[in-house]
């Protein structure tokens, strides 16, 4: 009897050791199609603001990290079922998402969302047709604004829709639209901006509090010593902290 008890105790301890040693490799899930936040560079690797940020966070939290790309539409289901351990994909913190997953503290200020339209077009933002990427805060915003929403799976397609005239304008993060407007003479930013969302944070599973605390501490240390502000300025993503 005693040996059985001891045996179970030993098993329980080894199990808890295994649990503490979890996340020897942290898999970072991102979309890879949303510059400057994250994109695939010419060499075929994940690059961008979040790549640099994520690598720095992992170094500070002493974690080994690996980058994985996943399409935006199924990025939350795949986190929840354990295919990777974090979402670091320019995902704004919202109440709806917070019910399904947990977020670290935000690493960008609430980024203003802007409209991009064809140069010279007279856009009716209240009653017109506005494009947005599906499952984003911008899509939810348009759906409740009274304008007609057309959704696309990738951010790139939303721009193509404006060009083809399928949509009057596109609503997306200011940092994403600005370089596009600068390089294309036929596209302009509208003056009106919308302040939606609670800033961008990293998504983790609700059961993964240990990992969330590690990243929270790392983000805080980057905020404290100003490195986060430097990164935000380098990639031209909104105001610093």
């Amino acid at each position: 009897m005693k040996s059985i008890l001891l045996g179970t105790a030993a098993l329980a301890i080894s199990a808890s050791v295994a649990f503490a040693g979890s996340h020897s490799v942290v898999r970072m899930g991102t979309e890879g199609a949303y510059p400057p936040y994250n994109f695939i560079n010419d060499a075929g690797e994940v690059d961008g603001f979040e790549r640099e940020l994520g690598d720095e966070l992992c170094a500070r939290a002493e974690l080994t990290c690996e980058w994985v790309t996943n399409e935006w539409d199924s990025i939350i289901p795949n986190l929840v079922s354990g295919n990777y351990d974090t979402i670091i994909a320019g995902m704004s913190i919202t109440d709806e998402r917070d019910e399904v997953i947990d977020f670290t503290q935000n690493y960008t200020q609430p980024d203003p969302s802007s409209y991009l339209a064809l140069d010279g077009a007279d856009v009716d933002l209240e009653g017109g047709v506005i494009a947005a990427q599906a499952n984003t805060i911008q899509a939810a915003f348009i759906a409740s604004s009274g304008a007609t929403l057309v959704e696309f799976a990738t951010p790139d397609e939303t721009i193509a829709a404006v060009r083809s005239g399928e949509a009057d304008a596109v609503l997306a993060d200011d940092a994403y639209l600005r370089p596009i407007a600068e390089e294309n003479a036929d596209l302009v930013m509208l003056e009106k901006q919308e302040l939606i969302g609670g800033g961008v944070g990293m998504g983790v599973r609700e059961s993964d509090t240990e990992l969330k605390e590690k990243f929270n501490a790392a983000i805080q240390s980057m905020k404290d010593d100003g490195t986060l502000n430097a990164l935000l300025a380098k990639w031209e993503i909104g105001p610093g902290f």
């Binding site: 649990f19 040693g21 560079n41 961008g48 994985v68 790309t69 795949n78 929840v80 079922s81 193509a160």
Partner: protein, 294 residues
Amino acid sequence: MFSFCVDPASLDGLAWMACYLTTGKHMAIYTSLFTVLLLLAITAPSALIFGFLGASSARSPFPPLSWIGKAYIAIVRGVPDIAFFLFFVIALDQLFEWIRHEIKCPDWEADIWQGNDFVVCDIAKLPLGNAPQWVHETYGFFLAVLTFAIVFGAFAANVLYGAMRAVPHNQLETAESYGMNRRQVFWRILVPQMWVFALPGLSNLWMVLIKATPLLFLLGVEDIVYWARELGGSKTARFTDYPHGDWRMWYFLALLIFYLLFTRVSEIVLDKLMLKLTHGQATLAGEAQRKAAA
């Protein structure tokens, strides 16, 4: 890739194109081409095995076995592919992990379902959380092959089931009258003769399978259509050395040519195969061949 690619902005015409088409990102689309071909090469025979098992169990004289075969054919054929692919792969993956979890961590007390999260102990993860990325990708690829094989196996089973019934019954009766037992009749008379009836249906399936490969993306495998969309999308100069506008049309045109060529080659090969299988068969085409030779 090439030595002159150091400063792409200074290049134009063919040189620019040569550099552009050999970036690391373009290597990914060439690799994914092989992924698709490999998938087809593995899926086709495994779907045929699934189909053969399904068809032979559906026509089994032992009722429960026949029910299993018929249920497999009916259910998988009836469910839309896209629903099957989205639901089935995640469910299959979780089933594997749950079985490993039960075996490897019997004293785990927390729930497997914690709210929305599916949590199994670390050593039961499949592949292990610390495995390198290529292991994850290979695992995903084989889940994809398995799913494709199950789906297309059901269609193949239906084709083979019909083909088995199309073999003239007097052939089987003659075999029996020669003293062959049930097994011998099946393997020596029925199976060799059924292919000629099955091939038109199977070649149809092969064509559908070729065109179904973009479904791979639903399974998390980055296939050529994904890369065509990603590479073709407009790129701004801030984030790449090779800025360009919306080139998706050209990429999709290339895909169209690839798929057309591929299906055309398949058609030619299948026609040759049909000619070979027809030889000496008691079918109209077989009879025509005999007369032409005589």
